[in-house]
């Protein structure tokens, strides 16, 4: 079959990203030709700023080298500008005389710098800042001349000014507005920015208009004349007053354009054969000038070019970051000042730190940060996810660390760190390695960095630092992904919520059924999505769904915790941490019989037998004769208790009894992540209940219930949920809370993550205010727990090949016999 022909006009970031996405979803659908006016392969335009500042070389910013085009069968015409599109004949014609016909056409022509309507902008020495040629010209001018003027104090103008300064020029920035970056910053932040740039040596003329660019005797640019008649000497002038979508060609061929080529939510123009992406478009009346939205558009466009046809682009919220080394500035969302909006501010002029948060109706709607942008990702996520702020409000301005965290030496400011600082402790990745990878491999997302460097891919406590590094290198091109849009994994575009809904609404009963129905891109998922799907199915269809052991991580398949040497640990259930001499004796005997190398009391008050071979597990369980402690599972692990009123002289409630009952009433159900509980007999809180997923604290008149706490890489203090009088009520509240968490949290969310997202008010509404709902939730939990056998007893009773190894036969029968008899005799000794 003849392949369809796709022609792309524009060899820039949006166009090529669209082709990359297209090749991923439909590699063979098109014969692809690309026209690029620039003589280069696709490069990372945003890194022109560090190139200008001398921090990076041209060669390192190429995203797709010429080989990439060849390897993917793409015909590239570099240095070839399309000058005419004939939509009747479906042909494009280029300035160098090429003709190409198309079935589908993609406009990705970017934008053009605006030239202010003043005399002299065409003089030699007057430049814009858009592409490699501009940058090269600036670098050459800086080598020969002294004085430069930048017209425009926006993002691009300041980055140009900073780069020219770094190359030794005297730079004056002329800006029309009363303060710098007036669209992204308020006056306070802009003033701090201006001061710190002035300290570096930049000069600013605000509230000032350039009236004319005047020539010197040689006919080159010589000075800029201002509205008050004064002249600023200049041998180089950079125009950075804004950009305009490059829609000239589209207009000329009769496509409907406003300020940009008008597209719908599928990125289609008014001609159904023609699509458009990037800075050249107008979508719902908006043209974007940052990379992150273009990438989203590219994905949607590829989805339609690839005939999948379901994706929609509905617009983006963007944040801004200035890429001037050593200056931390960030802005997202609303700047405040309008009615109905509240502002929380923190200003330390001496320390040059400013933070402003804009709130409306219990949501964060914008933020401006100067000097300390450590929490920028956190704030932009709160904005995007429209997270209810509620009780966070009091601590919000102090940032995420004020909520308690550990694992990176309290270090919060990534830009100031030395290159050899170890950012990711789990995988031993240093700052320098991460920054280099971001620049040289052209990384834009957290996932990219995780994949290429492993940083932040394990415990995640360094995620904030990595996000800062990303933002400081690629600027506004890094947009923290809203959690509500994050797909389950790379196998799909669907989110956790969409998958769960589909399972329920369409009665999907097995993993293969779910994969088929949701059109997974991979034949049988991956190690990320299969465990999640297995959990969602289990939770949706308790009693009916047949658990798929092959979709479980080894710990949950082997019902023991794998150790670094491939052996396992065994933790029997000891309800409430209360044991007996007989039980201890039994455990001791098993430990001796199987020569268990280490016997340890765990943090959760249980006994851990470490170093058991997998083959021995069923026999160890049989000899113990105790139920599984689920210490390996995403399930209720332990209920830690203090001695309580039975013995303790301070105790006001029987915390031990309560703990045993809770553990018995809640064990054997799977949850999105591990769940730990604590019960204390009085507010002295010896069981550390307030850092547990559910903490129950005895008080004179009953029990207080706290939820959403945990230790771990990011310590979280549990928040007060309710106070109840009777133990049975504490049980019901706890069970209902956990069932709500089971039904609504995403797989691998701890209770704290989930509560942060939905808000404690929501949880209170469902658990405290709605008595009927609470009872129903609790009933569903009991139902899910009913008839679930103890997993150890089950595997003791029935042979499971999971725990058997094979010896390769035929060739070494004698050897095998010897091994086997040795194995038999081992435990007996």
């Amino acid at each position: 079959m003849r392949r369809m022909k796709l022609v792309a006009i524009g060899n820039g970031m949006a166009g090529i990203r669209t082709l990359e996405e297209l090749l991923r979803v439909a590699p063979d659908l098109y014969e692809i030709t690309v026209f690029g006016a620039e003589p280069h392969p696709n490069y990372n335009r945003i890194l022109l700023s560090p190139v200008l500042a001398g921090e990076q070389r041209f060669e390192a910013i190429v995203l797709n080298d010429f080989r990439w085009y060849a390897d993917h069968g793409i015909t590239l015409h570099p240095g070839s500008k399309v000058t005419c599109v004939d939509r009747q004949a479906r042909v494009v014609v280029s300035a160098d005389g090429r003709q190409e016909s198309y079935d589908r056409l993609l406009f990705a022509t970017g934008s053009v710098p605006i030239r202010p309507p003043i005399p002299g902008t065409d003089l030699p020495g007057v430049l814009t800042f858009r592409d490699i040629a501009d940058t090269q010209a600036m670098i050459e001018a800086a080598a020969r001349h002294k004085d430069a003027v930048v017209i425009g104090g926006g993002l691009l103008g300041l980055e140009a000014a900073n780069g020219l300064l770094a190359r030794g020029m005297n730079v004056t920035v002329i800006h029309l507005a009363p303060w710098l970056m007036e669209r992204q910053l308020d006056a306070t932040a802009a003033a701090l920015l201006q001061t710190s740039l002035e300290q570096r040596g930049l000069r600013f003329l605000l509230n000032t208009q350039a009236r004319e660019i005047v020539a010197d005797d040689a006919g080159r640019v010589g000075a800029v004349r201002l509205n008050d008649g004064a002249e600023v000497p200049a041998a180089l002038v950079v125009l950075a007053v804004g950009i305009r979508p490059n829609d000239e060609l589209a207009r000329a061929c009769g496509l409907h354009c406003e300020r940009g080529i008008v597209v719908d939510d599928t990125m289609m123009t008014y001609d159904p054969r023609i699509y458009a992406v990037g800075e050249c478009i107008s979508h719902r009346g908006i043209s974007y000038g940052l990379v992150a939205p273009l990438f989203e558009q590219a994905k949607v466009c590829a989805n339609h070019l690839g005939h999948l046809g379901f994706a929609r682009y509905t617009g983006s919220t963007v944040s801004t970051k200035l890429k001037v080394t050593g200056i931390d500035i960030f802005s997202a969302g609303h700047l405040g000042g309008d009615d109905g909006a509240d502002e929380i501010t923190l200003l330390d002029r001496g320390g040059a730190v400013y933070k402003k948060l804009v709130l409306k109706a219990d949501r964060l709607i914008g933020s401006v940060l100067f000097g300390d942008t450590a929490d920028s990702s956190w704030y932009s996520r709160l904005v995007k996810d429209e997270t209810p702020i509620g009780e966070l409000r009091g601590r919000l301005i102090l940032g995420q660390p004020a909520l308690g965290s550990s694992g990176h030496q309290g270090e919060q400011n990534a830009a100031a760190l030395p290159d050899d600082f170890e950012v990711c402790g789990c995988n031993g990745v240093c700052k320098g390695t991460i920054v280099r990878a971001i620049k040289e491999k052209g990384l834009f997302t957290l996932d990219d960095v995780r994949k290429h460097t492993k940083a932040s891919s394990s415990c995640g406590s360094c995620t904030g630092l990595v996000e800062q590094l990303l933002a400081s290198v690629v600027g506004g091109a890094y947009q923290p992904r809203s959690a509500s849009q994050t797909p389950v994994c790379e196998c799909t575009d669907y989110t956790h919520e969409e998958v769960r809904r589909a399972i329920r609404d369409h009665e999907l009963l097995s993993i293969p059924e779910a994969l088929r129905f949701l059109e997974w891109r991979t034949p049988n998922g991956c190690a990320t999505c299969r465990p999640a799907l297995n959990y969602y199915l289990l939770c949706a269809w308790p009693g009916t769904y047949r658990d798929d052991p092959q979709s479980r991580l080894v710990n949950e398949r082997a019902h023991a915790n794998i150790q670094r040497d491939g052996t396992y640990s065994v933790v029997p259930r000891i309800y409430g941490g209360v044991t007996t001499p007989a039980q201890l004796r039994q455990i001791a005997e098993v430990a001796e019989k199987y020569a268990v190398p280490t016997v340890k009391i765990t943090g959760g008050q249980r006994i851990d037998l470490l170093g058991v071979r997998k083959e021995d597990l069923p026999r160890v369980w049989a000899d113990l004769g105790m139920p599984s402690g689920f210490a390996y599972g995403k399930s209720v692990r332990t209920v830690k208790t203090c001695v309580g009123s039975e013995w303790c002289r301070f105790g006001v409630q029987d915390s031990t009894r309560m703990g045993i009952e809770l553990e018995q009433g809640l064990d054997r159900v799977w949850t999105p992540h591990k769940v730990k509980l604590g019960v204390s007999g009085c507010p002295r809180n010896c069981a550390e209940s307030t850092i547990k997923d559910v903490g129950v604290v005895g008080v004179d008149s009953g029990w207080e219930i706290y939820v959403g706490g945990n230790g771990g890489t990011k310590a979280e203090v549990a928040q007060f949920l309710a106070k109840v009088a009777l133990p049975a009520e504490a049980m019901e509240y706890t069970g209902a809370f956990l069932q709500l968490y089971r039904e609504e949290a995403r797989y691998l969310d701890r209770t704290s993550h989930w509560i942060h997202r939905v808000g404690l008010d929501y949880v209170k509404r469902r658990i405290v205010a709605d008595a009927e709902g609470r009872k129903a939730l609790y009933a569903r939990l009991t139902e899910a727990q009913r008839d679930v056998p103890d997993p150890w007893a089950l595997r003791v009773a029935r042979r499971d090949p999971e725990f058997e190894t094979i010896s390769a036969r035929d060739r070494y029968p004698s050897e095998r016999n010897r091994n086997e008899s040795m194995a038999e005799s081992l435990p007996a000794r």
């Binding site: 991979t522 034949p523 190690a527 299969r530 080894v554």
Partner: protein, 104 residues
Amino acid sequence: MSPWLRVCPLDDIPRLGARVVHTEIGDIAVFRNAEDEVFALADRCPHRGGPLSQGIVFDRRVACPLHGRTIHLESGEAQAPDDGCTRKYRVRIEKGVVHLNLQS
């Protein structure tokens, strides 16, 4: 003597799963994917020696149970950007029985 060793009936290996085979040259993981293809690799992850047999199998890949690197079952190579490679062995199914060849 034939270099092919009898391992076990194919049905003793779960689909999208693996079994460990003790041999004179160490433990070998024999995998079975959803299409009933079988693969054999040394049961040691190139990263820090994790037992690959215990990982989650998908497509023609396995995710190591210790730190989650993905290893290609046909080649034994770690998926980019990780590098490293674990030894692969030849396997075949004959009359429903899996056979393994330790000579590389």
